[in-house]
């Protein structure tokens, strides 16, 4: 017993004050919200679009970026000859509507909180059921890590529960493989109303690297109605936490 207490003293107190206190600083090479300064684009250049593995960048009459497809990889930044594309350090990457994620290269509008009525019900006690519908386990791991002492999800009244019947909503990862479609539908149906769905990661938003594979559904909004999208591949735990807290109105738009 004494050795356990001794170890506890050595391990120390590690919970971060977020969302209070200063914004946490992520490593210099971290790839947060991407922004494109199209004034720097050479005429007729579409190298970023050609390089993008998921065709997130398109040049029709104008440049459009579908951040729901973004894997936060380095292919476009490597391809750009003028440094027009940059990943910022901004880890806040949650949006309420799928359309908000299709931008002209500038940052998108961050998720607003759910309406007053839902906030009254979920604001202090939010039970989430995680369903991995083809996820590679990275998003799942970074959701799971929110329960550990650094982030301590429990202090916000948010918990991951064992059954959809105990849950207020689903937190979905993975592109929704054909083999998981029914399980996802059933899990959603088993949640008592009022309920909601949060899609975490590029796969759950658009199919991620597997977009347009016949074996999957290009994201979960073809199967269940989605209330919030959290970007990343995988999103940093702070990104997920920021999204969840924004959803509950615990963070105002800064």
């Amino acid at each position: 017993m004494l050795n356990i207490l001794n170890e506890r003293i050595k391990q120390g107190y590690r919970t971060i004050p977020f969302p209070a206190g200063e914004m946490p600083k992520l490593p210099e090479r971290y790839r947060g919200m991407p922004v494109i300064d199209s004034t720097k684009c050479p005429n007729g250049c579409a190298k970023c679009a050609e390089a993008c593995p998921t065709d997130a960048i398109t040049f029709d009459s104008e440049m459009k970026v579908d951040l729901g497809r973004c894997l936060f990889c380095t292919d476009c930044t490597d391809a750009c000859p003028e440094g027009a594309i940059e990943y910022t350090q901004d880890f806040r990457l949650a949006a309420r509507d799928r359309e908000d994620l299709i931008t002209d290269g500038k940052a998108f509008e961050l998720a607003a909180a759910v309406e007053e009525k839902s906030r009254k019900i979920f604001g202090r006690s939010l039970q989430l059921r995680q369903v991995s519908a083809g996820g590679c386990s990275a998003c799942e791991a970074d959701i799971n890590v929110l329960g550990t002492v650094i982030f301590d999800l429990g202090r916000f009244g948010i918990h991951l529960v064992a059954s959809p019947r105990h849950a207020d909503g689903l937190i979905v990862t993975g592109p929704v493989t054909k083999n998981m479609k029914l399980a996802l539908e059933k899990a959603y149906a088993a949640i008592p109303s009022p309920k909601f769905v949060i899609a975490v990661g590029a796969c759950a938003i658009s199919g991620g690297p597997f977009v347009d594979h016949a074996e999957q559904q290009n994201g979960c909004d073809s199967v269940v109605p989605v209330d919030m999208y959290i970007l990343g591949c995988p999103p940093h735990p702070l990104t997920i936490l920021d999204g969840l807290l924004r959803f509950l109105g615990r963070i105002e738009n800064q």
Binding site: E7, C52, P53, C136, A138
Partner: protein, 513 residues
């Protein structure tokens, strides 16, 4: 006539012409493989099919011989049906089920011929279970003529778990045959995570290939990215610069550290021993953040690239990493040692979920779980590539094969990986970090092995006359080991299932692809 004289041999990532792989009659193929595998002088690393004509499937058998670091390649041609190898070479069992499912061939008298991923045959009109083209194939729904393993009796009950599980984890289906708390057998059915990656690799590499490799099994991004890049470099007859090889090895060990730390914590959590659960949950993040410092992604995405690595570690970063790792090493050791000194924890771990050495060898259970049963195989020693040719890490094994052994081997590997990192970070060889790759050699077959954190990750590519992928096979270490979990539950308490499952912690998506 022995396999050593007949099969062609090569080294990790060194390709050979496809035409040089001997294609022998079926009986010879089986006998030659059996000669190496039954006395356990080699491991079966791959057994897969490539169509070779309208009714012909060329089956390749690849073995890894630890003593000589060689990989042997052999092939045989089969038609629609052929006598199953599994009766003679038990390690072939899961590979033959994959052959049947992917190509519609029937290995006759296979002891348990059932789908493993629940998808349609790649050859229209050829289905091993007689399913029609376009027929809906539902995961977990047994094809005609097959069923879950069932035990009959008045007091027997069947427990079904999944696909969706109680925790935050990928989906799979577990079917237990129980008598009260006692489990007679466990059957595991997967395929829920099948994303169809292997098929998309054909004709590549293209702009998505690297990203498939990094997400095939998301917690093994470095392992699979490295296996792929090593393979490409072999196909292009180029080596990554030494500095890149060192950084890659360190990233692979960091991945191992993060996962082992997480698993030790999760095991403690399932036992209800919260101190280690809490501490390790955090310390895993420390290792992930170290990887994130190097390349911006906690899971190492974007780091390993064909020709080397995309990010360098300069001296200030190396010092920062050493500082962090020394602290994390102290922390994880302190947290984990609490487990061994707690009799209630040891009582749960010891003699629970035992897989004997004999079973591990017979079923080809590799990697960390295999080493815990005494199956002494580790790619870093048995088929060293990259930096592991110069800096060796002692192989960690244990002999009891129980949940304790699988926990203890993780603990030993954590120690050894930390030591490796602390020793090599201050002395990364001076060199570039990336080299351009030339064209890939045409008409060759290359095999790349990496000791990913769960075990051997094996990538095999056959190139066509343009040097593009005519065929690509990925074998995640979990492909070998799911049967190990099923075996470990025999004659156990059903309440020990979460513990046994965590003690293996296998990849669902790595298996399903």
């Amino acid at each position: 006539m022995t396999v050593a004289t007949l099969a062609i041999s090569t080294l990790n990532s060194k390709p050979v012409p496809v035409a040089d792989v001997p294609v022998v009659p079926l009986d010879d193929f089986r006998e030659l493989l059996k000669e190496q595998l039954v006395p356990n002088s080699a491991a079966l690393i791959a057994l897969f099919g490539v169509p070779a004509g309208p009714q012909t499937l060329r089956v390749y058998g690849l073995t890894s011989v630890g003593a000589t670091s060689e990989i042997h390649l052999l092939a045989t041609d089969v038609g629609d049906r052929y006598p199953s190898f599994t009766q003679h070479i038990t390690q072939a069992h899961w590979f033959e089920r994959e052959l049947a499912e992917q190509w519609g061939v029937v290995p006759e008298d296979h002891p348990w011929l059932k789908p493993i991923r629940f998808h349609a045959s790649y050859r229209d009109g050829q289905d091993a279970w007689g399913r029609a083209v376009g027929e809906k194939i539902l995961p977990g729904v047994q094809p005609d003529g097959t069923d879950y393993f069932k035990i009959r009796g008045d007091e027997i009950h069947e427990v079904a778990v999944g696909p969706v599980h109680a925790g935050v984890i990928e989906p799979g289906h577990f079917r237990f045959q129980c008598h009260g708390e006692h489990v007679f057998t466990l059957e595991i059915e997967l395929g829920f995570q099948h994303r169809g990656i292997e098929r998309r690799l054909l004709g590549g590499p293209d702009k998505r290939t690297m990203h498939y490799m990094e997400t095939l099994s998301g917690d093994t991004s470095i392992g699979h990215a490295l296996a792929y890049c090593q393979l490409l470099e072999g196909l292009a007859d180029t080596e990554a610069p030494l500095r890149a090889q060192a950084i890659r090895a360190m990233a692979l060990e960091l991945e191992r550290l993060a996962n082992h730390t997480g698993d030790l914590g999760a095991l403690a959590g399932d036992i209800g021993f919260l101190p280690t659960f809490s501490f390790c949950g955090r310390i895993r993040g420390d290792f992930l953040n170290a990887t994130g410092l190097i390349c911006g992604s906690r899971f190492g995405r974007g780091l390993v690239r064909p020709g080397g690595v995309a990010f360098d570690i300069d001296d200030p970063m190396s010092e920062e990493l050493q500082k962090r790792l020394a602290a994390a090493h102290r922390d994880v050791t302190g947290a984990t040692n609490l487990l061994w000194s707690s009799s209630s924890v040891m009582a749960r771990l010891e003699e629970t979920g035992t897989v004997s050495l004999e079973t591990a060898r017979a079923l080809g259970i590799l990697g960390m779980a295999g080493r815990a049963s005494g199956n002494d195989r580790d790619v870093r020693r048995d088929a060293p590539a990259g930096y592991y040719r110069f800096a060796q890490i002692p192989v960690s094994t244990w002999h009891t094969g129980d949940a304790f052994a699988r926990a203890y081997v993780r603990h030993l590997e954590v120690q050894r990986s930390c030591e490796f990192l602390l020793e090599n970070l201050p002395q990364i060889p001076a060199d570039k970090v990336r080299r351009e790759l030339g064209p890939l050699q045409p008409d060759v077959i290359g095999v790349s092995l990496v000791e990913a954190w769960r075990g051997a990750a094996c990538h095999v590519a056959l190139t066509d006359s343009d040097g593009a992928f005519a065929h690509y096979k990925v074998i995640d270490p979990s492909f070998h080991n799911w049967i190990g979990l099923a075996m470990s539950l025999r004659d156990q308490q059903i309440s020990d299932f979460p513990l046994c499952n965590k003690s293996f912690n296998l990849s669902y998506c790595g298996h399903d692809l």
